[in-house]
Structure formats: structure tokens, C-alpha cells
Point group: C2
Chain length 434, copies 2
């Protein structure tokens, strides 16, 4: 089967690998030039935290080892209090579990290499989609080039051109919800050739209304992202104001950011949006057009699941193709079932923003997390939501059902109390990094 | 001030009247040709039910008398049971209250006449907006015509071209939610020159999964609208199937619809959509672009409030212009407060579909309505939601707060019981039309 994928980003490339393995011929059309022939442009991309769902997808294609070699494991969060106090909080009761920091550009290059190495996959760079006729499958690109397709899959991200066409069809429900918050990318370079902070953690400065995070890079720098309401971000409009604000709220980071002022003034403000669409596919006449990844369900980055969810889409679509015996129309119809899962992670990602911004700094929250990890140790079968989302491939919607069942069960027994006592006992001991 | 309105439909024309009265110069750009020079095209337009909010807006411009003269008052609902039994249910405890049936095309012509009669208002028909630069205020129309504006107001309906541009701006949240239901317009012509049913009612055939309504026209016909899931509407694809279905579910209507089969097969299926957008206005550089009416907040037709709400938008924007001393940027900013109200009516319109489709046929519902009307008579200050929405200009959001207060109050007292007894006593008497 000839399959056309619009977008050769992370999800487009990974999907091409899965489809090529099934024996399909895949053409990827990508708006931008080949990133392997240029440097990254940066300034707009939050680092990715690849966790089990993403790794599982890569593993199925034998790509996990190579990708993880380039990534930095982060087994927990490091909280930075305004007075400089650091508190480390493991993500999992199992100390082997970590999420993995990797740059989007680097991962994209890896996946482009993997896809183009497969027979039957070709990538056309510099092709910006300008029109799509969902009835005939005709794609038009800037400059007047045309391609006729039977199966078109939009993997072209949150601002998908493929989805823009589907949205115009009556019966296609859609929403784009922007947060009042924007983000600004900043940087902590290496110090004397070494990481300026502990690289084995996702660093968080929870400040209530604003929040900064930092993820380690292979070059020993950190990519920082400051989240703040748009009007506040815009109000820091002079070197003096920027320095004063950071000195007051992020004093320990300020000393590590020599390029703060230029980064702040030069880098654009990013937007935080949740996109929902239903259905994700349309079959009219001979052509079928579908959506995957951010094009289908862009989410905010606060659960570190955007790319992981997109990768899991590929696994699920591969499963649907199995069930539909490679009939893409049927497979894309089956794939609609995944919306129950992506709706859940969209909501959790929004909820987690409040948690990261505000609650992770509080003692109650830290105590609660310790209770949760204690429950995981003493109650057979109890697993926390974070654990299930980040360190399992349990479908997102099933995670929520399981969390709800567990809440009812622990509320009904004395387990919570027992776990609390256990946690307090452990907390009073000298605390290793667990 | 020079103001450009895109769309010379109901809301565009009414707004032009309000603005001209304030001394502004208004140019309306309308995609279609002048409807006064052609017949209506029909087949897609549910009749309007103008009630107090719409009448209040017309009254402020001295247009109410003329418009109401062309309308047919409907003081209640007439329910058609499958066995042909008719039950009349007044909309209000006050028998003078009625909603008013009028055709969209007819009302549009009236409002076009009213607007163009005012000094400073001109309408450019046959101008389809193809591009809008919100920074410069430049509008481009099909055929290459260009117009430069400082203030642009999109009154161009649910599928607004002005909003399509705003949606592309980061930070503009938007949603379009389609119901699984579509609708098909049908007709009951006059019989021997007279109305085939009682014209002093909105007729409803509640059938659970499907529903039909009929509103009287000045020419003594009724416009019927059948609501049904899309796949069901599509499944009736032969004269035989159409007749069999209507004979089973709408037997009393079937006899009144000589053109049923051709109407059903020829008329297109309409879609039911709720559109939300936030913000409704954008000011970048010198230009301000805003939205009103369906362009800002299209709703489903089940509370009969779409046009009424759009007309009330004009009253509110007029009020905002008073407060802002005719600074349109400030006025459109103030006008954002109306979203609290339009969100409420959007939700109520969706909720009312279930009520109309299903509950209006049940005894419990009818008894409940009688209790409600009785409460309005015996409890000082008690007013039902329907009464407040349709027969008052209390802001929609305030209606919901008041309904919630009343529920708490009546639940806390014996008033409900007293009213019930009163209602039962009245119900046992021969029932006049009240």
C-alpha cells in the first residue's frame, strides 16, 4: 500500500518505520528543510522526557538502545526553594525508574535516519501543504507541486495543515484551548566543563504564579523553561527588570545564567495549547485521511507525555492495522478508540501544571508522595498514578479507572493509616535517594 | 467613526442601526446578493421564535411593532403523541406571553430596509471576505477588491470568515462541537387556504431518539424540522422508506405533508453546532477586530434563543459604547463580559434538546410544568427559568443564579408541596388554555 504522511517530525518518522515494517511504501512530506543538513534553530522547544510508553514504541523497532544512549536519565524532581534549599523527590518507589531527557532536534534526526534507512520510505523536505482534497486525496504544496494519495496521515503537529482541512468539514468537532500562560526558553551553560547542577534530576522552581524547570542536555548545559502568564512575561522588558525579578524569585538560578538577559529578550514566547478533534479520520470516496500525534491531540507539556503519547499512537495504529488486516480505512476507524486515552492524558497534563507550579513545593505534597510510595511498598498491587502513566504502558484511561478503584479501596481499609506510619518512620531516618 | 461590519444578516443589520444612531458611518459587506432582489432559497433555515430579548432590542430602535405585525404569536407548545393525542402546554403562567414565529428571510429584509434607510449606512452585496489582516485592518474580497478599515466587526454567522482569521492567532481559544444529530426541513402547506393545524402554538412531536417541530408561517403553511441522528436521516433513502417511517412515527403529520417525499429527498441535511471563541476581539496596532452574534457564539436552536441572543449582543455592545464613550477598542474589551451570559445560553440550548426530544411527552414533565406555573402564582418573586429566558431581559447568567437560589429556597420550605396541591386542584378542573 502507498501511504502518504504529512510531517516528518517525531511521530511521522516513527510511524513511517512501523508502516515500512508492515511492507507499505511511505512518502513523508515535510515543510522544513532536512534538519540533518542544518543546525537546530532552538528557542522554542521544551526538552523531551522520554518514559516507558515512548521507550516501548522504540523497543518494538529496535531503536530504544541507541536513543537512550543519547539521553540523560532523571529519576526524580529536584525542588529549588526561594532560599536555595534543594529537595529531591524520586518519581518512583522503584529506584531504577527514570524519565529520560533528550533534545527534540537530536531525537528527530535519529528517527529520520531510522526511517530513511528502511526500504520503501522516502522523505520530501521543503514541501509545505497548502491544500488537501479529502475526497480525491490530492495534496497541493507551496510552489504548485501536487501529489495524489489514497491514504493520507497527518502527523504535522499541533498546528496541523491536514487537520485544518478536516476542521472545515461539517461534523468534525474541534477545540483549541490556550492557557493564559506562555513560556520562555532560557539556558544554564556548563561550568568549567561540568554540569552546573545535578544532571540526574528534572529541576523545578515552583513559585505559585510562575514556575521554571530545567532539563539536562548531553553537552552538559541545561535547557530552562520559564512558565508565566503572558502579560507578566511581556512586562519584563528591560535588562534591569529581568535581573531584579530573577534576583528576587530565582536567586540560585540567576548566578548560573550568564546569558539570561539576551536569552530573555531574544527568545520568542511560546504558547501552551490543548487541541481536541473528533473524529480523527474522514473517508469520502476513494481517499482516507487520518490524524496522529499532536495533530490529533496536542497537549500541554506538564506531564512529560506529549511525545510519549504520540509514539504510543504509532503502536496502537500498528495494532489496529493488524486487526484490520492492513485496510487503512478500517484501521483508522478502529484507531478512534484511542481518543478515550488521549482525552485522559490531556486533562492530567493540565492538572499537573497546578501541581508543579504550586504544590510540589509544599510539605503536605512531599508527605503525600512519601505516603504514596509507602503504599506501593506495603499494599499488594497498589501503584500510583505517576508510576502508571510514566513507567507502564497501561492505557491512560485504564490508569484513571485503576486509580479510582485504588482510592476507594485504600479509603475503605486501614491501609492508608498503616502506610502513613510507615512513611513517617522512614522519613525520620536519614533519607537516601530513593 | 468609520465602522466595517462583515455580514448583513440579522445581527449585522441590527448592529448597523444601533451604530448609525450613535452617529457612526457603517459599511456592511455581505457575501450573498441582495435578498430583496431575489426570492428566499429556503431548505436550510429553521424559523425563528422572537421573544422578549429580541423584541427589546427592536423596541429600542422603534422596529418592534412592524416586525411583530409580520410574526405569529405562539403562547405554548402543542405536543403530538404517536396516537394523535394533542396536549397544549402554555410557555408562561402569564397568558399574554408568547414567542413569535417569523421567517429568517423576511426578518432579514425588514432589517436591511431599516439599516439602509439610516444616514451613514451602506451595504456592499456580493463581497465574500477572503483575507483579513488584523494588524492593518485590510479586508480582501473575492475578485481582488480591498477595503481598509480601522474597526472590523464580524457578524458573519456560525461559519464566520472573520473568526476564521482570529482562530489562527496564538492565544485565541476556540471550539466547534457538532451534535450527532442533523436536521431536515419539511413543510405542511395550507389546507383549503387555512392553517392545517392550530397556528397559535409551536408544534412538537417528541419521539425520544427523533423529534419534529413545526412553526407557523404568515402564508398559513408550517415549516417543519425533523431532528434525527445523521445516519438515521441518511438511511431513509427511498420514497417507500420515508412513507413507512412517517406512517409509524408521525402518522398525524404524514396526512398533512403532500410534498414529504420530494422535500425529504431534495432538501439538504443541516448540522447542529455550538461554537465558542475567546477572546472575541483582537487589537493589534491600529486596527480592532471583534465578533458578535453567531460568529462569536453559535448555539443550537433548541431554546429558540439564537437570534434573540444575537440581538441582545447589539444592545450590550451599544451599552459598552456608552461606557467607553464610543472608543471601539475599549467597548469591545468591555463586551467580553457578555461571554458569561452566552456560555449559559449555549449550555441551556443543548440541555433543552433532551427536554424537547424526550421529556415534553411525559406526564411527569407536564405535571412538573404545572407545579412550576403554580409556584409562580403562589410564591412571591418565583419565576421559572423558561419565563426568565424567554420573557425577560435578565442576563442569562443572572437567570441561572436566580434559578439556583429559587431551588434552594423552595426545597427548604413547604412551598413546593403547597404549589403541588394547588396544581393538582387546577388540573382536575376543565383546563382552559393558560
Amino acid at each position: 500500500m502507498e501511504v502518504t504522511i504529512v510531517g516528518a517530525g517525531l511521530v511521522g518518522c516513527l510511524l513511517a518505520c512501523f508502516l515500512a515494517r508492515r511492507g507499505h511504501h511511505v512518502t513523508l512530506y515535510e515543510r522544513r528543510p532536512d534538519p540533518r543538513e542544518r543546525g537546530p534553530h532552538g528557542g522554542r522547544s521544551i526538552n523531551l522526557a522520554i518514559s516507558e510508553r515512548g521507550i516501548d514504541a522504540l523497543r518494538r523497532l529496535g531503536l530504544d538502545t541507541k536513543v537512550l544512549r543519547a539521553a540523560l536519565p532523571m529519576p526524580g524532581r529536584m525542588m529549588h526553594a526561594p532560599d536555595g534549599t534543594l529537595t529531591f523527590q524520586p518519581y518512583s518507589a522503584d529506584r531504577r525508574h527514570a524519565i529520560n531527557s533528550i533534545g527534540r532536534a537530536e531525537l528527530n534526526k535519529e528517527l529520520l535516519d531510522a526511517a530513511t534507512a528502511l526500504p520503501g520510505v522516502r522523505v520530501r523536505f521543503g514541501h509545505r501543504l497548502t491544500a488537501l482534497d479529502e475526497r480525491t486525496g490530492r495534496l497541493e504544496f507551496a510552489g504548485g507541486r501536487v501529489h495524489d494519495a489514497q491514504v493520507v496521515i497527518g502527523a504535522d503537529g499541533a498546528y496541523s495543515a491536514v487537520r485544518a482541512r478536516l476542521q472545515q468539514l461539517p461534523g468534525v468537532s474541534f477545540s483549541q484551548d490556550y492557557l493564559d500562560y506562555g513560556y520562555k526558553e532560557l539556558s544554564i551553560p556548563p561550568r568549567d566543563g561540568r554540569f552546573a547542577m545535578d544532571p540526574a534530576a528534572l529541576h523545578i522552581w515552583p513559585r505559585g504564579r510562575s514556575m521554571m524547570i530545567a532539563l539536562p542536555n548531553a553537552d552538559r548545559s541545561f535547557t530552562c523553561t520559564l512558565f508565566w502568564p503572558h502579560e507578566s512575561l511581556a512586562a519584563l522588558d528591560s535588562p534591569q527588570r529581568i535581573r531584579t525579578y530573577f534576583a528576587e524569585h530565582y536567586p540560585d538560578a540567576l548566578g548560573l545564567m550568564p546569558d539570561l538577559v539576551t536569552d530573555y529578550l531574544d527568545n520568542p514566547v511560546g504558547h501552551l495549547v490543548t487541541m481536541r478533534c473528533s473524529p480523527w479520520h474522514v473517508t469520502t470516496g476513494a481517499a482516507t485521511v487520518g490524524l496522529v500525534g499532536d495533530a490529533a491531540h496536542a497537549i500541554v507539556p506538564f506531564y512529560g507525555q506529549g511525545a510519549n503519547c504520540g509514539f504510543e499512537d504509532c503502536v496502537e495504529l500498528d495494532r489496529c492495522l493488524n486487526e484490520a488486516k492492513d485496510d487503512f480505512t478500517k484501521a483508522l476507524e478502529l484507531f478512534e478508540r484511542r481518543k478515550a486515552d488521549t482525552d485522559v492524558i490531556a486533562r492530567l497534563a493540565l492538572d499537573n501544571f497546578v501541581e508543579m507550579r504550586d504544590k510540589v513545593g509544599s510539605r503536605m505534597f512531599l508527605a503525600g508522595k512519601r505516603v504514596e510510595h509507602a503504599l506501593e511498598r506495603v499494599v499488594p498491587g497498589y501503584v500510583s498514578r505517576y508510576e502508571l502513566i510514566s513507567f507502564s504502558t497501561t492505557p491512560y484511561a485504564e490508569v484513571e479507572r485503576r486509580v479510582a478503584r485504588q482510592r476507594r479501596a485504600t479509603a475503605g481499609t486501614g491501609a492508608a493509616l498503616l502506610a502513613l506510619l510507615y512513611a513517617l518512620r522512614r522519613a525520620s531516618r536519614p533519607r537516601p535517594r530513593d
